[in-house]
Each structure stands twice: as C-alpha cells, then as structure tokens.
Symmetry: C2
Subunit: 383 residues, 2 copies
C-alpha cells in the first residue's frame, strides 16, 4: 500500500469535513474538533442532503403504497439502471427473496429494484408485481436477449411481520401485496413519506408505532450516502424512562426532535417499553443504504456489514432471534471515489457514514410515525 | 409456542429486575421505569458480579502474560471443563485459528480454551503453547482414547495487530508467543488485570492506548454473563471533543469514570482521534462472552451475533476492513435457564445482556489503560 496516499485520504476524512464546517484551516479545524463540548447538531447543518432522504443519492427513486384497511404497505427502491447491490442478514427471523442471487460468487451482480414489504411471508408477492411490471417493459437481467423471452428483473426483497397489528388480514387466498408492489413502483419519485407509510405503515417498534425512516449525509468531498428503513423492531429506539432516541448522539439539525443526550441511559435488562408482554412475534428492521459512489459487489458487502452497526446504535436490543434484520446496499455508480484513496479506506469511510445515517433514519421513522386508528400501540409523539 | 409461558418470562425480563432494584411491586416498578430521568447507574449497583469481571461467571479462569520489551501479550480463557462455544467474525481483517472447527455442523461442539494474542499472525503460536501444555496433561478432544496418543485440545484463537507499536519485534525466527501462551495459561485465576495487560498489552484504539477490559452482569434471576475483550480498534471508544465513552449510557457504578452522557455527540466524519494519520494497519477487537447458563452450540451463535452490537455501541467506527473483530461465546453450563422461558426468549435475553456487558468491557479497557513507555500514543487517563 502507498502510505502517503492513505495518509492523505485519512486526513481528508477528519480535516476537510471540519474545515468545511468552520471555514478555517485544517489545523485550526482539527483543534476545534478536539475542544470540549460538541455542537455537531448546530455546525453540521450542511452535511445532510437537501431532502435528508435516501433520494438525495442521485440515480434512484422510491415509491410507496399502503392499504389502510389491512394496515400494511410496500416500499420499492428503483435505481435508474441496474445497480450493484449487497445484502447482510443478522436477524434470527428473516423473510427474504432473491438475496442468495446477490452472493458475490454468483452470476448476477446488479439489481433492478429492492422491495420492502409488510405482510411477513405474504409480502414477498410484492416483488411478483414489481417483477412482472418490469419484465413487461423489458427491464431486467438477460444474458442473451431472445425475441418473446422476457428478461428476469432481479428484485431482492425483505418483509416484516405486521400480521397482528389489528388490521383486517382476512384476505384468504388473495393477499394484497402483488398489487401494492405495482402501486408502489408506479408511485416512485424523489419524495418519501416518513412514519406510518410504505412498508412501515403497519410496523411496530419496541412497544411504539414503528414506521418508515430515511436520512442522508454528504461526505467532505461531496459524495452522497442515504438510508431508507422500515422499523418493526423487537427492541426500542428510545432509552427507558423518557423519549430520547438511542441515536441522539448522531442527530443532525433536530431531525428527530433535538432532545439531546443528557440522561440517555439504561440499566441491565431495562428495555423500557420493549421486551414486555404481549409475547414476541417476528420482528424485523429492513434497511437499504444507497451511495452514488461506484462500489464493487464485494465493497458493497463490507458497507452492509458496517451499516448493521447503525441498527445497534439506534435499537436496543437488536439482531434477536425474533428480528429478521436485513441491510441492503445499493451503488448507483454516479461518481468515482477519491482518486488518491485506497479502496479499503474508501470502503471504511462509506461504511462508517452508512452506519450513522442508518441510525438516524431509524430514529426518524419512530419520530415521524403516527398511531394506527384504534390501535393500543401509541406513537412516539403520543407518549 | 405457549403464549402464557412467553408472556410470563418476558414480564420477568422487565419487571423482576426493576422490582429488585426498587423493592416495589412489579406494577409500581414498571411505573417507576416509565418516569422521566434515568438513574440506572445509581440504582443498579447490585447488577454487576462481585468482581465486575468475566470470572464472575462460574466455571472458568483467565490467565495473562506479557513481554514488556516486545510490548505484546497473551490472554487465555480456560473453562474448568470443555465448554460449548461459538464465534462470530465481523471485521475485515481477522487473524484466527480453530474457528472453523466451531461451525455447528462440524464434529467438535466444545472448546478447551480460548486464546487472545497480540502479534498478528505470529500470535497464533500462543495456542501452540496452550495446546501442547494441555495435551501433555491429557486434556482435549479425543473421540476414542488410545494409549500413547494425546488428545486434541480445541483452542480457538484470535490475534490483534500490535507489530508497529514501538516494541522490539526483532525476534527473527523465534517469536515469543508460544511461551507467552504457556505463561498465561499457568497464571490462570479469577483475577484479571485490566488495561495494559494480557493480549491488550500492546494494543492501540482509535488514537489512544488500547487494552484489556472486562465486565459482568447478573440477570434478574441470578444468572451471570461476563465479557473479556482486547481492544485494538481502528475506531474510537470516546466521542470527539472530550473523554466521554460511547458506552456511557450503559455504565454501571462509575466503572469507567462516570462522565455521563451530556454532550455525547459526533458530527458526520468526525471521529475524534480515530481515523487520522498514521495510516491504518490491521486493527482488531477480540472479545469473549461467557455465561453460566447452559446454551446449545447454536444458541451460543445467536448470542455471539447479538454481542457484536456491543462493539457497535462502544466503538465508532467498527467492523471496518482494517478491523479483525471477533466475538466468542462460551457456556460453562453451570445452571439451566428459567424453566418457564422458551429458549428463543432466553437467547434473546442473554444476547441483549451480552451486547451491553461487552460495550462496558470495551470502555473499561480504555479507561484502565496506561501508555507504553516512550510511546507517542497517550492513554485515556493522560488526555
């Protein structure tokens, strides 16, 4: 490895960002960052993307749909063109589809969409709808194009369990997910409704209403990383005894209430509203990280691994046998990484940013959620 | 699943613990835990084991050794009898030995010792010393005992990179690790020196001196969980701009300084002393969780997965390509889990406790560390 190059790129990590914030020299900025007291929330206003959504990452859109009677929904992430993707599964109860295809030794390296769905195993039909829609428009993987043979859209999918949330699940042999998938896809845009929306519509999280969250961050050189998440976790996003989010140390611009970190604490086995009766069912936090930086399939895997740490920073406990936690990573490949950075350093930087932006997205999901009509489970805003 | 049983056991999670702390009825205790403000650190004094070390878990001892000239060391965890173990690897640069043997589909389900070592790839020789010592005493796995044939001690091992810490590594073809392994094993007891000791003797962590940490916790029913860790992380255990530990929300009894959580924050790409030049080398946090509760090999795996979240809560960033992060789990099988608890709930509870106790152990490693003579890298206590 070229030590000079690594040294230069690592300096950029800690110094250019700070220099941008304070407008000072790198040296003064480094001294500033060393000083006691932290005003990250005040000084980092410029560090989220303009929407503070995953769609700040160029080259992708997000569509959502829901069924208010069933109390469930679907979220679809659609890259403008097939995109390199990875997947890391750490929950003990995942409900997934087309994740094996993503293994780096396998044929396909790129995906056409990523689907999050409510509905547990039934939700996987959302990808049927998306696949059919895309295939009919000749979008998808085909090693050779043959007339009359549709391509195979690659649509990795993860579902969360919202079957017991009080909605009407008497769908018999006709669950609504195929249609919800198409509806979400057709609604794709740069806007994303947070909270009780999309795949997080019927979600619950640690005794509170769960939901859909998103956030973004811009690196010191201007590359973009965003997170989208549907939070249906066994564990809690807030510390016991109050309303403060576990992700509070990472909050930017009061994006989830600005309650700060004073008093953020939990004793052994004190999980607040989480881990209480009723008994656990399958829970799941499904997330997707996107970046406009070109990543290889294997680099994206390391980013997915590091991004799971965002779940650990935002939810307690997490990755339990009752969670089906899945993190996808998508590279829209709109820009190359810094020329003078070894790839391993770039991957480290993107993975570290991904973990933090995902933690923030999780807190925003709970912060933005509203209670379902008639539900016993309160939203964060109601407590 | 029997819902009544799950319900009962989950109630025990949140209520018995709190009831013990406050001496009140479960209902009053639950209300108390709901109130604003959190005094976990004050009210949980009884929740660590007597030593606040992994050796509070019955049925194991820990031995350590170091070489002050080489600035390296070894830690050996020795169960009284072969113990079920698991291993979860999440770092991008692991240096391990005998971890494949632990796969649940493989022959061996139990281990005779776990070794942590400095010395990067050379450190794996520490396990040679431990294996030879044990084999000569007829301890180890043998499917059939045959006269004159030694058993095969199973000694999963993970090493950290401390080659560039300024110590004298001019060992040529005779690295010191085999002898350090034997020395550590022969020193095994219930006491553990923390900080600059054992495998963490030569470790660095995010721009500060790393070290060896340990902590323990007692569940509401009295089962014990402990963590031992050698912290040599790329990322930092403290938030930028001060001395506060990322693990502060989980601190018990001012075990790492009682600095609290007010102001615990970090802006994007602000990693404080971590992620700065000099260029990254291979880093690693090696941990072992132990519990006296009987776990199957597969349950121990889930506990290892959940325990990795302790690294995420205590270090930022973590699980990078430059980290070789490994978590072992050891069950000394001295007691059964609660009879009325489904195993999945028990695993969840132990995994959740494991994550938190490991986060605390990491902070204690840095808190207790002292700088190496002549080193440019300060200890936490020196900043």
């Amino acid at each position: 490895m070229n030590r000079r190059k690594i040294l230069g790129s690592l300096a950029a990590v800690t110094m250019s960002g700070v220099a941008t914030k304070f407008g000072g020299s790198p040296t003064a900025a480094a001294a500033q960052s060393e000083s006691k007291g932290n005003s990250a929330a005040d000084t980092s206003a410029s560090r989220t993307g303009p929407r503070n959504l995953i769609t700040d990452v160029g080259g992708l859109q997000v569509g959502q749909s829901h069924d208010a009677k069933v109390q469930t929904g679907v979220t679809v992430i659609v890259p403008d063109k097939a995109a390199v993707a990875a997947c890391d599964i750490r929950g003990g109860g995942p409900a997934t589809r087309e994740t094996d295809a993503l293994a780096p030794e396998n044929l396909v390296q790129e995906v056409d969409a990523i689907v999050f769905s409510g509905g547990s195993v039934y939700g996987m039909a959302a990808a049927d709808g998306v696949a059919s829609w895309m295939g009919a428009r000749n979008r998808g993987f085909s090693f050779q194009q043959v007339a009359g043979v549709p391509p195979s859209p690659i649509i990795p999918t993860a579902c969360l369990y919202d079957l017991a949330n009080g909605g009407d699940k008497s769908w018999g042999e006709l669950p609504p997910y195929r249609e919800l998938g198409v509806e979400a896809l057709e609604a794709a845009s740069g806007d994303i409704q947070l909270g009780t929306a999309g795949a997080g519509y019927g979600a619950m999280s640690g005794g509170l209403k769960g939901g859909t969250g998103s956030a973004s961050v811009v690196s010191s050189e201007g590359f973009n990383i965003g997170a989208l998440v549907a939070v249906n976790s066994l564990g809690s996003a807030i510390a016991p005894g109050g309303k403060q989010f576990w992700a509070a140390p990472l909050e930017l611009n009061r994006e989830f209430g600005g309650l700060g970190t004073d008093g953020l604490a939990a004793g052994p086995e004190d999980y607040g509203r989480a881990m209480r009766p009723p008994p656990p069912r399958t829970n799941t936090t499904i997330a997707c990280i996107a970046t406009d930086v070109t990543l290889t399939r294997v680099e994206a895997q390391r980013v997915a691994i590091m991004a799971q740490d965002g779940l650990a920073r935002a939810l307690r406990p997490v990755h339990a046998p009752f969670d089906g936690d899945v993190v996808f990573v998508l590279s829209t490949a709109q820009r190359e990484g810094p020329e003078n950075s070894p790839r391993s350093v770039l991957t480290t930087r993107i993975g570290a940013l991904a973990a933090d932006v995902l933690a923030r997205a999780i807190a925003r999901a709970i912060f933005e959620a509203t209670a379902l009509p008639g539900s016993q489970v309160p939203a964060w805003r109601d407590i």
